[in-house]
């Protein structure tokens, strides 16, 4: 069905370019860039137009501009001889992403490497920044905790996300359930900090958990502070609460991608629901599952805000992300901070390698 529809659509664009069209196509970039630049000047001027108007213009300018640039760039490339189109066109597709990433992340990351190899005080070459990443008591504590976050946090998040996605898929209340699970993701970190204060507060008149404990005859516990090392677990629960929505959305979309016929066929064959889950659903979403696990592992490695807001890394809850942040912004030790970033970068290479193991086997056009 799609094939015929597609064919009808494609005929228009596969015409050979006429000279007139070529000129227009070449003019287009100039016009687009001129319009965009004047729009930029207008927006930067911050004139006295009502803010609503400025907001709308800014949004149209930003989105329209990016779209126009892609169309224009492609239009120009398609004027080239066919042999060159094949060579150049991929870079129209991946080029903007590569350029932005080079500017925003790759170059700063390289700069980080050079900072990490220099002593913050003397400016001499040194490897000390790297040794301290593995030897300081506080860094060891941070690595241990991050391991906890990675193992427990990722497992719980993915298991709950998957469970909810599967259950919701066959429930009449799917939308309501998914929305409620998703809600914590939408809450800003400051809001989440207050929410969990109402859960974990040591005062049983404020903290729900302690209200329960004291009502049951126990004594109130300082969940996030003195209850070491368990306080890490209570912090991890905050992550699970916030990030399960992420796992759920992606996994749910993947489950929706499994064709009904496939599921029905299995059920008709007499497979029970567990068999359907393990033999049909799981294999079909394994790609997405890997994606979700990978990204959540990376979240937990870079984790920063939950710990920063709730304990500041004190009470034995230090994590790498907070350590990095403190070295960078509080302690004025860019070298140590950079070393942490580099080690983190190296640490995920195996995970990435596993992810990309199929990459080179792909067929392309």
């Amino acid at each position: 069905m799609q094939k015929t529809e597609g064919a009808a659509v494609f005929t228009a664009s596969s015409d050979t370019p006429t000279p007139l069209r070529a000129i227009l196509t070449l003019l287009a970039p100039v016009v687009v860039i001129a319009i965009l630049y004047s729009g930029f000047l207008f927006l930067r001027e911050n004139g006295n137009a009502p803010q609503m108007v400025k907001t709308i213009i800014a949004i149209i300018w930003g989105i329209g501009g990016a779209t126009a640039l892609f169309f224009v760039a492609n239009g120009v490339v398609e004027l080239l001889p066919i042999k060159w189109v094949a060579r150049v066109q991929p870079f129209v597709f991946v080029g903007p992403a590569l350029m932005l990433l080079t500017w925003y992340l790759a170059i700063p990351a390289l700069r980080t490497l050079s900072l990490a190899l220099v002593d913050d005080q003397t400016g001499q070459f040194t490897l000390d920044n790297f040794t301290s990443v593995f030897t300081e008591r506080i860094m060891i504590e941070a690595w241990t905790n991050n391991l906890l976050w990675m193992l427990i946090g990722t497992t719980l998040t993915v298991v709950f996300g998957l469970l909810i996605a599967v259950l919701a898929d066959r429930s009449r209340f799917e939308r309501a359930a998914k929305s409620l699970i998703f809600m914590p993701m939408a809450i800003s970190m400051v809001g989440a900090g207050v929410i969990w204060k109402f859960v974990y507060d040591v005062n049983p008149n404020i903290g729900l958990l302690n209200a329960g404990v004291t009502a049951a005859g126990g004594t109130a516990q300082p969940w996030l502070t003195l209850l070491q090392p368990w306080n890490n677990l209570f912090l991890i629960l905050v992550l699970v609460w916030m990030q399960t929505g992420y796992a759920m959305v992606l996994l749910s979309a993947a489950i929706k991608g499994i064709s009904d016929e496939l599921l029905e066929a299995a059920r008709v064959d007499g497979a029970n629901e567990f068999a359907v889950f393990f033999r049909i659903i799981l294999p079909n979403i394994s790609g997405t599952l890997l994606t979700v696990v990978t990204t959540i592992i990376i979240f937990t490695l870079k984790l920063f805000d939950i710990v920063m807001v709730m304990t500041g890394g004190q009470f034995g809850t230090e994590v790498i992300g907070v350590r990095f942040y403190r070295e960078m912004f509080v302690n004025n030790n860019p070298g140590s901070a950079s070393a942490i970033a580099i080690v983190l970068l190296v640490a995920v290479i195996p995970i990435m390698g596993y992810n990309l193991r199929q990459f080179s086997r792909r067929d392309t056009f």
Binding site: V202, N203, L224, T225, L226, M308, T311, F315, F329, N331
Partner: protein, 452 residues
């Protein structure tokens, strides 16, 4: 455009009536002496229409009060001082300055943070344009010393002190004290005796809370500093908090600091002394800590904290009726009556005439006059008058400071960020929560001190 037009209009008016306006609105005071060339020209309206951008950590109500207190100056000079506060000031200011987009003036609540920027050469030396006679006359020596920081080309005056708050204060519920017949202690021993009395009566003397999210531990550092000032010499305190060089530094593992912590431990960890005991100290939010004082009958009787804590008191509580304060008494008469303060220093990043004029203005009491009236700030300027204070509480604190035998700045704010906003907090928290013993905690605090 509209706004600029308005400013120009005001400025034009200003030019014609500048002398009359100056008197009426007290924007530029006649009593100012030793004015810098830029301030003189600003008061003459020559800098009208210029803009000075400013940022700092205070927001919300404080921002309103700040704007109030500069309004007359802005009207008189036509300089528009645009202040925007941000809660993440401590984090944002360094990348903003290093990235090359600094505000004209920034308000630093911690000189330790400013020091990093001075060392990297980003801060304008205000002594290049402020009259030394004026600075000498308007700030006491300890303020001047704390504004002097070593830059890449030697020592500079890194800014002007704008406000401070008093720390050595113990708050208490007036009615509960009266009901029980307790009297305000004037010596440390009396204070301990009172604490024992309250315990014997079945009450809880103290409320303490050091939890503060990412900054947990800072109220404990204040306490240590108070005890330090009361148990050792000022020289030792200065060498501990703000050493001139590595050799003269008094380390955390020194007997002096150890002793101060022990004294504090005796107060905090004595059974029944502190509400909720040791666990509650570490887990109670500092702003919630004083609230039980206002229960009927009082849940606790004393709470030591800076004057800003009144904004955390329950709504409608009245100074003098519901609560009052006394000076945290001396421990050893030998060390007099020291007073601990913290304060905000304004530093300057862009050297333009209007910025200079505004900095000169901020070095004068007039710049916080309205703020003193509305409450929440104390003035470090010698030309600020006691009668400007709008509340008895703050006037009382100002008097205490004036009568103190010595005034010292919050040590943790002076220390390098790695210690003062890092290992010191953490060490105290670890010690209070029992994660490590005192010796280990102090050694670990020391370990974070940057080596030159």
């Amino acid at each position: 455009m509209k706004k600029l037009g308005f400013v120009l209009l005001v400025a034009a008016l200003m030019l014609s009536f500048s002398s009359i306006m100056a008197q009426d609105m007290a924007g530029c005071s006649d009593t100012w002496e030793n004015m810098s060339a830029e301030l003189t020209s600003a008061c003459a309206g020559e800098l009208a229409g210029t803009v000075v951008t400013m940022t700092g950590p205070f927001t919300d109500e404080d921002e309103v009060k700040f704007n109030d207190s500069i309004a007359a100056f802005e009207a008189a000079t036509g300089i528009d001082i645009q202040y925007t506060g941000t809660k993440e000031f401590e984090v944002i200011i360094t990348p903003t300055v290093q990235g090359g987009a600094p505000p004209d003036i920034a308000d630093f609540p911690q000189p330790g943070l400013l020091r990093n920027l001075v060392e990297d050469g980003y801060v304008v030396d205000v002594s290049t344009f402020l009259d030394p006679a004026h600075i000498e006359a308007n700030y006491t020596e300890s303020w001047r010393d704390m504004a002097t920081i070593g830059g890449p080309d030697g020592e500079i005056t890194a800014g002007v002190w704008a406000r401070f708050n008093g720390k050595s204060l113990v708050w208490y519920p007036v009615q509960a004290f009266a009901d029980a017949g307790y009297e305000v202690p004037t010596t440390w021993d009396e204070m301990i005796a009172l604490s024992d009395q309250i315990v014997a009566d079945g009450g809880t003397p103290w409320c303490v809370g050091i939890e503060s999210g990412g900054a947990t531990g800072w109220p404990a550092t204040d306490w240590i500093e108070e005890v330090m000032l009361r148990t050792t010499t000022l020289e030792n305190y200065d060498n501990w908090s703000f050493p001139a060089d590595a050799a003269s530094r008094l380390s955390f593992s020194s007997p002096e600091v150890m002793n101060a912590a022990t004294v504090l431990g005796n107060l905090w960890f004595t059974e029944n002394y502190v509400m909720g005991g040791r666990e509650a100290i570490a887990s109670t939010f500092f702003g919630d800590a004083p609230v039980p004082m206002f229960d009927d009958p009082a849940g606790c009787y004393m709470h030591k904290q800076g004057n800003f804590i009144t904004s955390f008191f329950p709504e409608g509580s009245v100074a003098g009726e519901d609560y009052s304060f006394f000076y945290l008494p001396p421990i050893d008469e030998e060390y007099g009556r020291p007073f601990l303060v913290a304060g905000d220093i304004y530093a300057m990043f862009n050297d333009r005439a209007e910025v200079r004029a505004v900095m000169d203005f901020f070095s004068r009491g007039e710049s916080v006059r309205a703020w003193l009236g509305s409450g929440g700030a104390l003035s470090p300027h010698n030309d600020a008058l006691l009668e400007w204070y709008g509340s008895d509480v703050e006037r009382g604190i100002a008097e205490l400071v004036a009568n103190a035998t010595s005034v010292r700045f919050d040590g943790s704010d002076l220390m390098p960020g790695a210690v003062g906003a890092g290992s010191f907090w953490k060490g105290m928290t670890d010690w209070v929560s029992g994660t490590v013993d005192l010796e280990t905690a102090l050694t670990e605090i020391d370990a974070a001190w940057p080596t030159e």
